[in-house]
């Protein structure tokens, strides 16, 4: 079951200047105060900020890991064992956000979903998802076939080889479709990344809508595959 990612909570009113809790020097959302080096509260629960990244979609896995490790050395609670209670709490908060960020951004699909969410553009399909138009026929046939299989199994019959073969065929077919959607998704990354920082909402919208549509299609196909898997396993 997939769950909504937490929305980034703005902890400070817009335009407010953050001051270091220890030395009162201004801190611009950095994890550490530049003047006294003390750890700071997370300014925003923004996964991109946590890893020091721009809001782009095409991220190199190696680069992401290097950043994650670099930040872990600095923020991990192990480093604050002898520090004050406040600093220990801050390290716990900072490092949990860092870990959540890495977990989310390292996977292209979760990353896209997160980006859409913080851009306020994630629209999931209706609860009973409608099959994409071009898949209607295939899906209808598949579901009918899956029902047939379930009935055979419930009756305790051995699955005829012919049906088992068709099931494998269906699995292969939809796996190929999933792969195609994934390729389409990564191909669209470039469209988003090409937009200049601070692009107008009208410029972003078509790209975000397209990404959203791809994610919906993907989750539809993935659910179908799970159904197939379930019938194969039982």
């Amino acid at each position: 079951m997939s769950k909504d990612q937490p929305k980034p909570t703005t902890l400070t009113p817009e335009g407010a200047v953050l001051l270091c809790w220890s030395c009162q020097a201004p801190v611009g959302g950095d994890a550490f105060c530049r003047s006294c080096m003390k750890i700071q509260p997370p300014a925003q629960e923004d996964y991109y900020l946590a890893l020091g990244l721009d809001r782009k979609l095409a991220l190199a896995a190696g680069d992401l890991e290097t950043r994650f490790h670099e930040m872990s050395w600095k923020l991990h609670p192990d480093n604050f064992h002898k520090a004050s209670v406040l600093e220990r709490t801050l390290s716990l908060k900072q490092s949990s956000i860092l870990n959540d960020a890495y977990r989310t951004l390292r996977h292209p699909v979760a990353r896209t979903e997160y980006l859409l969410r913080i851009e306020g553009a994630r629209r999931e399909g209706a609860k009973k998802q409608q099959a994409p138009q071009d898949l209607l026929e295939e899906v209808f046939a598949l579901n009918e076939f899956l029902d047939e299989m379930r009935m055979e199994k419930r009756a305790g019959h051995a699955v005829p080889e012919e049906l088992a073969g068709r099931l494998k065929e269906a699995k292969k077919n939809f796996e190929a479709k999933l792969k195609k959607v994934d390729d389409e998704l990564t191909a669209t990354f470039g469209n988003w990344d090409a937009l200049p920082t601070g692009a107008a909402a009208e410029a972003k919208k078509p790209v975000l809508d397209r990404l959203n549509a791809i994610l919906n299609r993907r989750s539809y196909i993935r659910n179908l595959l799970e159904d197939v898997q379930e019938v194969m396993e039982v």
């Binding site: 079951m1 937490p6 872990s72 609670p77 192990d78 064992h81 490092s95």
Partner: protein
């Protein structure tokens, strides 16, 4: 502040280790071994005995002795029903979500004196206290903080129970570290290598598999899996059943084997298991006269049963148990997105990995020879000591990034589970959820938190129920309460909530589903203090009595000596009065009074001692040996 140690609180054995100049070492106990049997026994005087002495009492006082208590940590009675069929735990009838174990009081042996009821964390605390005292003797100073290891697959309640045990033992638990990851720290210490390693940790009662990525000092756990109820214990039990069958086949009238016989057979089974790791065949001798009376076959007083057991037969018997470890291994690989061939090194941890069959199976699965050059018994404790040193700021070039073994979820409508932190998330990990009210004027919201991978709440492990309360009355759906779930670096969950309208912290009331409440722990700590005081008094009394007896004997002997005639009448009367008084107080319970009278007697006999001394000197001058005087 006192010293810091690393402790492996194991099912069968526990160890304590420390780090000095970057090098971890295990500490030996008084018996000269680093392994402390995780066995606790209550003697007839109500004193607690731990370790090797307790293990010996398994054979003499099984009803007063408990082993493998780790299996009960953080569990409820319902969880261990199956186990109770095999393990001779005596569970108090009243226990529910916290097990209470009875020690002593069995009608079948000796007296009913000193029966006591303990929770698993209390029993584990006795083991921790023993290790603490080993370390304190070793350092000559106080030890008050520790890193304690837990099976990677331990859930929140099992972790909390372990932490509670530390608190009860007077140790500040700096960190709970997963056993396989601790082992990887000890393993990676002097090797400084990069790559992917699999740690296969098969211990006395638990099985863990962890897949790690080592990169420039960062030990990043990719995935973990396991079974907290699978270990060498299960193999022992299987062998015991086998021996029981063999014995039963010899007796015409079967009698149920009592706890004592089972312990004898268990000891033998463990020995057979160990021998079959190095030998191809073991000659087994079961002699009925080794067994306590009451279990002989009728008229078969001296039945002797001898047979050979080959490793092949043994392996066939235990194969299903070893097979059960491979499922979690495959799942861990799948979660890490790796094929067995992509693992660079395999490390074996835990005593059960000494079995050749285990080594073969692991080698087959990964297609490479596993590492076993490190002592599989000690490596976890050594790793705990390394982690303790990291926290103390000694080791600066290693960092462990561990994961939570089980998904965290909350119960939604219809009993389904919404997953909020997936398994294998690096810890600390967090999740935020927004809650609101369903009806107008609702003043509280209930949240049920679970751990596990199943879709329905009833199939997952209930961790706790949280209540957000009070909530200011408002129309339905208007309150916005954000709840933050945070799994800390120990793998333990904490929850905080904020009312987003007021920006104020929202109170959360927590009812843990399993485990002890804070009030209970406080009460236990108090009790353990009074209990420790009792222990102390008891020990003082025994020592004072022994001393009194020795002095009584010596004084009476001296008074009979011919040179004692040199004493004045008043002196003799004073000594005799003191003697009588000492005899009287020795039967009492007041050790201070006994000591007082001993002092009094010592004073009264001062002149007598001088006289005897003189006469001894004279005797020596006459050429007699001193000991003849």
């Amino acid at each position: 502040m006192g010293k810091v140690v690393g402790i492996d609180l194991g099912t069968t054995f526990s160890l304590v280790a420390y780090t000095e100049f970057g090098q971890p070492n295990c500490i030996q106990g008084p018996a000269g071994t680093t392994l402390c049997p995780s066995v606790v026994s209550l003697d007839e005087d109500g004193q607690v005995v731990v370790g090797e002495l307790a293990r010996q009492r398994l054979l003499t006082h099984p009803e007063r002795t408990i082993y493998s208590v780790k299996r009960l940590m953080g569990r409820g009675v319902e969880d261990v029903r199956e186990e109770l069929k095999i393990f001779p735990f005596r569970i108090d009838e009243k226990s529910k979500n916290v097990i209470r174990v009875r020690l002593g009081g069995g009608a079948e042996h000796r007296s009913n004196r000193g029966e006591r009821v303990f929770t698993p964390p209390e029993i584990s605390a006795f083991i921790l206290r023993e290790l603490k005292s080993w370390a304190e003797t070793f350092f000559g100073e106080e030890v008050d903080r520790a890193v304690i290891t837990v099976p990677a697959y331990f859930n929140d309640s099992q972790r909390q129970a372990t932490k509670d045990a530390g608190t009860l033992a007077g140790l500040e638990v700096l960190r709970l570290v997963n056993e396989p990851t601790a082992a990887s720290l000890a393993y990676g210490l002097d090797k400084r290598r990069n790559g992917r390693i699999a740690v296969y940790d098969f211990g006395g009662g638990t099985f863990d598999i962890s897949i790690l990525k080592l990169k420039d000092g960062i030990f990043e756990v990719q995935s973990t899996n396991g079974d907290t109820h699978l270990g060498g214990d299960d193999i022992d039990n299987l062998l015991v059943e086998y021996l029981v069958e063999k014995l039963n086949a010899c007796f015409e009238d079967r009698q149920p084997l009592d706890a004592l016989v089972r312990q004898h057979l268990r000891k033998q089974a463990i020995q057979i298991k160990h021998e079959l790791s190095v030998k191809e065949t073991v000659a087994v001798h079961l002699a009925t006269w080794d067994l306590p009376q009451g279990n002989h076959g009728s008229g078969a007083d001296k039945l002797q049963l001898s047979f050979d057991l080959s490793r092949a037969e043994f392996e066939q018997m235990v194969e299903p148990i070893i097979e059960r470890t491979l499922g979690p291994v495959r799942l861990a690989l799948k979660d890490a997105g790796l094929k067995p061939a992509e693992i660079d090194e395999v490390v074996l941890v835990g005593g059960s990995t000494r079995m050749p069959l285990v080594r073969r199976r692991v080698e087959e699965l990964f297609g490479r020879k596993p590492h076993c050059e490190l002592n599989p018994d000690e490596v976890v404790a050594l790793g705990a000591a390394v982690q303790a040193d990291i926290l103390e700021g000694g080791v600066k070039d290693m960092l462990l990034l561990d994961v939570t073994p089980l998904s965290l979820g909350i119960e939604t409508m219809g009993g389904a589970v919404a997953r909020i932190i997936p398994r294998n998330s690096t810890i600390p990990a967090s999740a935020s959820e927004m809650f609101t009210t369903a009806v107008e004027g609702q003043t509280s919201i209930d949240i049920h938190v679970l751990q596990g991978e199943r879709e329905m709440a009833r199939d997952c492990r209930s961790l706790a129920r949280f209540q957000l309360k009070p909530i200011a009355p408002a129309p339905a759906g208007l309150p916005r309460i954000e709840v933050k779930f945070l799994i800390d670096a120990n793998g333990i969950l904490t929850v905080a909530a904020a009312d987003l309208h007021t920006g104020r912290e929202q109170k959360v009331e927590v009812k843990p589903s399993y485990g002890l409440s804070e009030a209970e722990i406080e009460r236990m700590i108090e009790e353990s203090f009074t209990f420790a005081e009792q222990d102390f008094k008891q020990r003082q009394l025994v020592e004072a009595r022994n001393e009194a007896e020795a002095i009584l004997k010596a004084t009476e002997k001296s008074l009979g000596d011919e040179s004692a005639s040199l004493l004045g009448a008043g002196e003799r009367a004073a000594i005799e009065a003191s003697l009588a008084e000492l005899k009287a107080v020795t039967t009492g319970e007041d050790y201070k009074k006994i000591r007082e009278v001993i002092d009094q007697l010592n004073q009264a006999t001062y002149h007598l001692a001088e006289i005897l001394m003189d006469s001894a000197v004279q005797a020596t001058l006459k050429g007699k040996k001193l000991n003849e005087v």
